[in-house]
Assembly symmetry: D3
Homo-oligomer: 255 residues x 6
Amino acid sequence: MRLELMTSPAVEAYLGKNSGIVVPVGTTEQHGPDGLIGTDFLCPETIARRFGEQSGTLIAPTMAYGMSQFQLGFAGSMSLRPSTLAAMAHDIVASLAATGFARIYFLNGHGGNLAPLRAGIHEYYATRSFAGIKEPAAVHCRVKSWWEFPEADALRKALYGNGEGSHATPSEVAVTMAAYPDTIKPFVRPAPPPVDDTIIHAGDNYFDAADFRRRYADGRVGSDSALATPDAGRRIVAAAVAGLAEDFESFCQSK
Amino acid sequence: MRLELMTSPAVEAYLGKNSGIVVPVGTTEQHGPDGLIGTDFLCPETIARRFGEQSGTLIAPTMAYGMSQFQLGFAGSMSLRPSTLAAMAHDIVASLAATGFARIYFLNGHGGNLAPLRAGIHEYYATRSFAGIKEPAAVHCRVKSWWEFPEADALRKALYGNGEGSHATPSEVAVTMAAYPDTIKPFVRPAPPPVDDTIIHAGDNYFDAADFRRRYADGRVGSDSALATPDAGRRIVAAAVAGLAEDFESFCQSK
Amino acid sequence: MRLELMTSPAVEAYLGKNSGIVVPVGTTEQHGPDGLIGTDFLCPETIARRFGEQSGTLIAPTMAYGMSQFQLGFAGSMSLRPSTLAAMAHDIVASLAATGFARIYFLNGHGGNLAPLRAGIHEYYATRSFAGIKEPAAVHCRVKSWWEFPEADALRKALYGNGEGSHATPSEVAVTMAAYPDTIKPFVRPAPPPVDDTIIHAGDNYFDAADFRRRYADGRVGSDSALATPDAGRRIVAAAVAGLAEDFESFCQSK
Amino acid sequence: MRLELMTSPAVEAYLGKNSGIVVPVGTTEQHGPDGLIGTDFLCPETIARRFGEQSGTLIAPTMAYGMSQFQLGFAGSMSLRPSTLAAMAHDIVASLAATGFARIYFLNGHGGNLAPLRAGIHEYYATRSFAGIKEPAAVHCRVKSWWEFPEADALRKALYGNGEGSHATPSEVAVTMAAYPDTIKPFVRPAPPPVDDTIIHAGDNYFDAADFRRRYADGRVGSDSALATPDAGRRIVAAAVAGLAEDFESFCQSK
Amino acid sequence: MRLELMTSPAVEAYLGKNSGIVVPVGTTEQHGPDGLIGTDFLCPETIARRFGEQSGTLIAPTMAYGMSQFQLGFAGSMSLRPSTLAAMAHDIVASLAATGFARIYFLNGHGGNLAPLRAGIHEYYATRSFAGIKEPAAVHCRVKSWWEFPEADALRKALYGNGEGSHATPSEVAVTMAAYPDTIKPFVRPAPPPVDDTIIHAGDNYFDAADFRRRYADGRVGSDSALATPDAGRRIVAAAVAGLAEDFESFCQSK
Amino acid sequence: MRLELMTSPAVEAYLGKNSGIVVPVGTTEQHGPDGLIGTDFLCPETIARRFGEQSGTLIAPTMAYGMSQFQLGFAGSMSLRPSTLAAMAHDIVASLAATGFARIYFLNGHGGNLAPLRAGIHEYYATRSFAGIKEPAAVHCRVKSWWEFPEADALRKALYGNGEGSHATPSEVAVTMAAYPDTIKPFVRPAPPPVDDTIIHAGDNYFDAADFRRRYADGRVGSDSALATPDAGRRIVAAAVAGLAEDFESFCQSK
């Protein structure tokens, strides 16, 4: 159930029985010569909404803008500063807490979001902790990227091996092909990304947009996007939905 | 054309011929007993995307979260602080300016967003002005709410007169009925909102969520939402798209 | 009654009977070849203090600095960032609320202030709304520019028609002539401002200081300042004081 | 010369010969049973404007709001947060630097302002220092409280000795009596402030408004305000103007 | 070589040959009944300084305060807000970049620091990316926790297995025993921490200080601190120093 | 007693009898050709820890990073922005207040820290004051630089007279020689600093790093560092410890 398509009384009724909500979060950034710019928010949105339909869980509107400062060297990329995304996460947690939610699950689709999201969530709790409040906050949060669910992770590795890479991956491209079949076109760059000896492990380094562009000339980071197929996308979505269902359930049960 | 469904090279090609983009922006908040919680972002999104399809104009991902602090007394409402929304507007302008856009058109669907959006845009320019830069910024911005287009404004007044009110208006409800027919249900509260002598002109006063709820018991502000029909919604969308087309064109031509 | 010229016990006595206060707010920026740099705060200050004398209403010290980033291309202009002015508005509301005021009326003299002022006021309420406080905030705010009062607006249009323009207007220049007769000098640029086909409606666009200067070479925006006379200034002040009296009274009575 | 009463071309002409400006800064807070709430900004404003008239130096609009959080326990007190006042100081420095000023002299009237003002000024320079810019900033700043000028300091001590105290001092009350003779009334509390063994040296401790009120029941901190006379006020103003003249001159000459 | 014990000319000489520096960062928080409050910064400090002595690498002063909001329910814990730690990381990167460093290695000792550190580092790069600068930033950063080095990680698991847990771990306690032998005392709580079925995986959840205290009554999170010995500490330090040496070298060589 | 070397239960026991703590705070910046970069934090750290050992007073971890923007023109200097240091001071006060401390004594070693520290402390109290809380805050703060203690101040003047200067002073160099004898080396620049007629009184002016370097070519500000001896350092430390002991005692007794 998409929150934006419900009425307020319907949400009130939902809160009488459930206190959990899923917030899809991604970003708007280039995904190489063939990947869609919205890939990172379309994937968690697709997975979350599918889960919402199956389970009757409330799905919040998608946070389509994320932290992608290092992608601003390519047309179509947009970014929030880390401090802005953290403030946004804080406000979303505070809003949901103020209106009766107790379990907020951020389903993430972009690695660069993780630090700001976590920083923003802790900022929310810090207010209580600094005040010395003795009553634990009723609201809990969880942040998980869709490819972390074991079954989804195993599947993408089985399907693509080294070709998966870490940006404009065939698995995320496959998910968008499954979700938006109208956007499927012949790959303009069907070859693997240029091999670069200086490629380093994702997350090991930090740089700006000019540096990113210098390193990754066509925008992909070790990912052979053209391995993607819509059928694989459907399988990956199914695996991720199953993973989300299990993890969200355990999260809502946790004390 | 939705930015999120394009590739980066396609955006680069677009920028070779155009420099304008439309950013739909709304909020997530209660809309009375019958209106959808997403109404304020679904309306500008619907209008902007329709315009994008007709004209080949680029439409950015929707900013679904806005400034609705006074609505947090109702289930399903969510809000950014004004400072957060201003920071977000700043970052979006800065991102688009950094990647080659020169005309940014915020199509708005929620009155409470106007001040933070404008503050954030000026914050962007302030950096240049304080630095004493002599070269004018290449990027210009415009902020317009969809009901401001003369034809759309005239239509909603002709259709609903006093029943239009100012929150959960039949015109915005009609637009969501046209755009999301699956959500249409019999109105649970078909009567006009409770008449309240203390109702004041929108924008004349400022209050918090508790005060809003005290004043507007069922969430509507003078709006007889049940007057809405999907057919009227289609006419309103068409009028707004025409207004947007004309205004966006003149904006892109402006120096 | 000017707050700065009263003692704290006198304010305490006032609060026993009234809870309203007027805060004049303007900015410090060029007003063309002949207008005073302080015009935008001297006007609301003059009107507010006149009203305070007539009615015994408390008038706070004038906020002389506002948001004028786009004016920094001219000598004598000064500006706060939007975020700074918003923080200032927040603090003034919070201060007055903490010390017993319940109706805060910002009498404004500069269009560029509106967004930051409103953003700052909402930031104050947001704290309460996010906390889920059930008791409405006792303090309410109103923001009004002095030329919005119907009688004052009609008068300036009757006096100056198209010559009124939107910056360094003859009406605001007239008010400063009435209030500061010692500053009256022969107009150095008695001609209307250069006609520019690219002039666009105020508020429709956003730009930086370099762009403003490029557009409006002598600093005026369509305003024929030299039409101003001190006598007209006195009439405009009288009309605005009457408008303020009525609006402030209704604001204080509002619930 | 008051900046607000000049035109932009006149400021441009001034800048052709001078690059210095004085910015009076104070606060709005209770000054005991008899002192004026505006005392802390009226004093530097009076001294600065007198100096401006004598010397033809440009005097900026007064910053009437300052950092007085500890005074919010008394009616009529208003405060900016330290971070807000720092941001304001930053913006004023940045504005004046962007428009050609090179020597900015903050003439202060309230001890609580010093830390935020200094923090804000350093924030301005920090931007350049972090950027590794090799060209020294053209603009310099000085912050001085009017009672620091040796002659003024000696005079107030000679006049009032221990009765001077540190808040609602007879010297500052005397200055307002000289500047605003219409406000002179018989002292309602002609006695010295209650003697309190727990009184501690100003600046040695930090507390909130409730603590301040607990310590200083009638709002005065060791000051026998009723010793003030308008004649003494005139002498103090003259001494401070002379001190300012000398210090401002040396500041403008400094490299 | 500790930066704080060097002179500026010596640093200048160092920069002629090297551009890398290690910044130890931890936090100040309770570590159960027996662990030291400084454990999280003493560990990376010990490891970094040992590495500095061996290799002649520059070691910056330790960041002793970190993000520990959830620990504020125990005496001796202190915390920065996430936004404060992020600002601090930004400033440290900006300072080192401005003075000629090109490789900044944060050696971390506290999981709660990771998100704010990363957010702050990206904030630094965001300024360049938003400005559309085409020259890649010369400075690169790496963030690594000392237990991530494969040899150190293997050793702690081999030594303690499940007893390692995730807070007040025997491995970190062992390091402080090796580094500060004077602080060694008989364990007051030699038993394993209370078994709690509700214990959840570290990083999977977010809560405030009251909630943390409710969950982990004696402050330890699954860690059997009393397994620690100074001899094991020495071995862990040696393993971590070796890991740091290798990783820092590869970082400095990276392009 | 160093907080970082204690356990949480030991701190809890301490709080049963005492509520005071000393927080050493300095900065990381060049100290001329011979002074250590850490001088400004090593001095208060040395003095505070000595006092802690003698008296059993709790000493918090040293704040090694401070506000030194004007020193960023020399290798080895690092700085926080004023706003960052203020936020850090706020958080430290809030943390200690939340966990039961009532008297927080910042022992400072760097003049540039004073404004941000004070601004940050007032920011903490402002939250309470704006909220109109009637109960005084339990926590009080004091900020004192170690050279302000009368005995220490007299000693450094007696030892060095004019050679003391104001940066890289022989007194602070002497303290580091006493505390870190291993760092003692022959002075590379045994001569007094270059005499400069433009040298101005410390604190009278504000500038950026480029300007500082232009003025003070070898980094010293009027200080003849080479007068320092370790023996004098020991005497200065003893004097400062005695001064701290007396002042801290009176602070803890104050109401």
